[in-house]
């Protein structure tokens, strides 16, 4: 077995949590049934990994098998990565009808033409998405398997989700993708996050949006248990009002899970008391960043608790609609920046 395979396999195995090790090894299918039976999954992780390594050596493992395992793990746990969203534009006529083999052929050939040492893995997962894993080397060194770039191309849509892409490799990957999918160009949209499913929902407008319908208040008396009858809220009306405002602004159902929202301000400094900073010709740059495990849900609960003042600023409440979370606000008003944002 090659030297580089063992550390790579070890690292990949270490990342898999013990609870799903069995199912992932089953899906991988590289170990024989007899070997899988020999593994006792209640033992410590260290012993298990050593056994798996021994079995893999017996079966004659190569790099491409470990790549498969890595891809299975990442398909299972996509939320451990930071994803950025890119969009294709200018498609040719038959762009959306994609032939899987043709696409993979074109992509691989293109990328290998540009850079000699790349290692590419492809996998078609459920939900109509193609997962591509690229490990980059350059013209003289072998590909670095420990820092691969993951690309998820959502079929039938012009959206691609990319994780861990180096600035150096960006033009190469973009070119290969554009050619293989028969579009004209690819552009990054200002949406980033960890939860891949939420990003997909936002971009494809799949989450339930808020509609201004008359909300019927459910019957309260039947639901509250015995002990709650002694508890009375003094400001019950105000709480109900706040809840209504929150549901009107953000909708009823679960909100997509975004981790940050960044607003870069490029406006002039306006404070009549401060003579030094006002009236300067160049804009005052400042960035406001909101971060939270699920930023939209926490904003909704801030409104419900009365801590955030209503009405909620449209800059924040329009985030699910606009499907972006990085904004640049310039003098003329919020929107697309004049210079391309990084």
């Amino acid at each position: 077995m090659e030297d580089s395979v063992i550390p790579f396999l070890e690292k990949t195995l270490q990342r898999i949590p013990s609870s799903s090790l069995k199912s992932i090894l089953n899906e991988w299918g590289f170990l024989t049934a007899q070997q899988l039976q020999d593994l006792h999954f209640q033992q410590s992780k260290h012993i298990l990994h050593n056994k798996v390594l021994a079995f893999c050596e017996e079966n004659g493992m190569r790099i491409r098998h470990v790549i498969q395992l890595d891809m299975i793990y990442n398909c299972e746990y996509p939320n451990k990565r930071n994803w950025s969203v890119y969009q294709f534009s200018g498609q040719e006529d038959d762009a959306l009808v994609l032939n899987m083999t043709e696409f993979s052929q074109k992509f691989k050939v293109n990328l290998k033409d540009l850079l000699r040492h790349v290692s590419i893995g492809m996998k078609k997962c459920e939900d109509d998405a193609v997962w591509i894993r690229v490990a980059w080397g350059d013209n003289f060194t072998k590909p670095n398997q420990f820092k691969p770039t993951y690309v998820v191309y959502q079929l039938q849509t012009p959206y691609v989700f990319i994780s861990n892409l180096n600035v150096k490799h960006r033009p190469l990957l973009s070119q290969a993708l554009v050619i293989a999918t028969k579009h004209d160009e690819i552009k990054e949209i200002q949406l980033r996050g960890r939860c891949l499913k939420s990003l997909k929902d936002l971009v494809l407008r799949r989450y339930k949006q808020s509609f201004q319908t008359h909300q019927l208040k459910p019957l309260q008396e039947r639901n509250s248990p015995e002990r709650d009858q002694g508890i009375v809220h003094e400001h019950a009306k105000r709480l109900a009002d706040l809840k209504e405002v929150a549901t009107q602004t953000f909708g009823d159902g679960p909100l997509p899970k975004l981790e940050t929202a960044v607003f870069k301000l490029e406006t002039k400094f306006k404070d009549p008391e401060n003579r030094i900073l006002t009236n300067r010709p160049e804009p005052f740059r400042c960035a406001v960043k909101f971060s939270s495990p699920s930023f939209l849900e926490s904003l909704k609960s801030l409104v419900t608790l009365g801590v955030a003042s209503t009405p909620v600023s449209p800059l924040l409440s329009s985030i699910p609609q606009k499907a972006r979370n990085h904004f640049v606000i310039s003098e003329r008003g919020p929107g697309v920046p004049s210079t391309p944002a990084p």
């Binding site: 508890i231 809220h233 608790l305």
Partner: protein
């Protein structure tokens, strides 16, 4: 302006009413549920409010409040300022042992260093003790609920021979004067 008055309503038979005031609605609800869950030989009603003054609409249905508890979260200065501003809308008779402060979140590592001293100053100036609790686990909530039920019994006059003012002078948490350093 609706000021909470001590004695303008008649007490009910074998009943005590406690009012919890705090900015965090979920904390209020947790504590009130623990209080209601606890075994008590008398009826307990809990009223929850975010701040005083209270809305005038509830004036008629509101019973006589025997014990007032201000919940202050030591992680947020907003809750402390809310409690401070609410103190103005209480009848002075309440400060004779019927007002308590409950400080939550003292175990947090992100403690802002000047909230606790300001809370102690506030409690010293209003002669109301500060109790500390954390409402995270069931056992914590149970012990806090029990303490408040005992205090509530006395404040409602259901224990013969003891009154809220009497208890106030006995409690260690009641600060003697505003100029003394808090005991460490």
């Amino acid at each position: 302006m609706s000021v909470l008055k001590t004695f303008n309503k008649l007490p009910e038979l074998n009943t005590a009413n406690i009012m919890l005031v705090g900015s965090d609605v979920s904390d209020l609800e947790k504590l009130s549920r623990s209080i209601m869950d606890e075994n008590h030989s008398f009826n307990v009603n809990v009223r929850l409010a975010q701040s005083l003054p209270l809305p005038v609409e509830n004036e008629d249905s509101r019973p006589r409040i025997d014990l007032l508890v201000f919940m202050v979260n030591l992680r947020s200065s907003y809750s402390l300022s809310l409690a401070e501003s609410s103190l103005k809308f209480i009848d002075p008779h309440y400060f004779l042992g019927k007002v308590y402060f409950l400080a939550t979140g003292a175990r947090s590592s992100h403690l802002s260093s000047d909230l606790l001293p300001s809370l102690r100053k506030l409690s010293a100036s209003s002669h109301s003790p500060v109790l500390f609790a954390d409402l995270e686990s069931d056992s914590d909530r149970l012990s806090v609920a029990r303490r408040f039920l005992t205090l509530l019994r006395i404040a409602a006059g259901l224990v013969p021979g003891a009154s809220a003012l009497f208890l106030n002078t006995l409690l260690k948490g009641a600060p003697a004067s505003a100029n003394e350093d808090p005991p460490n």
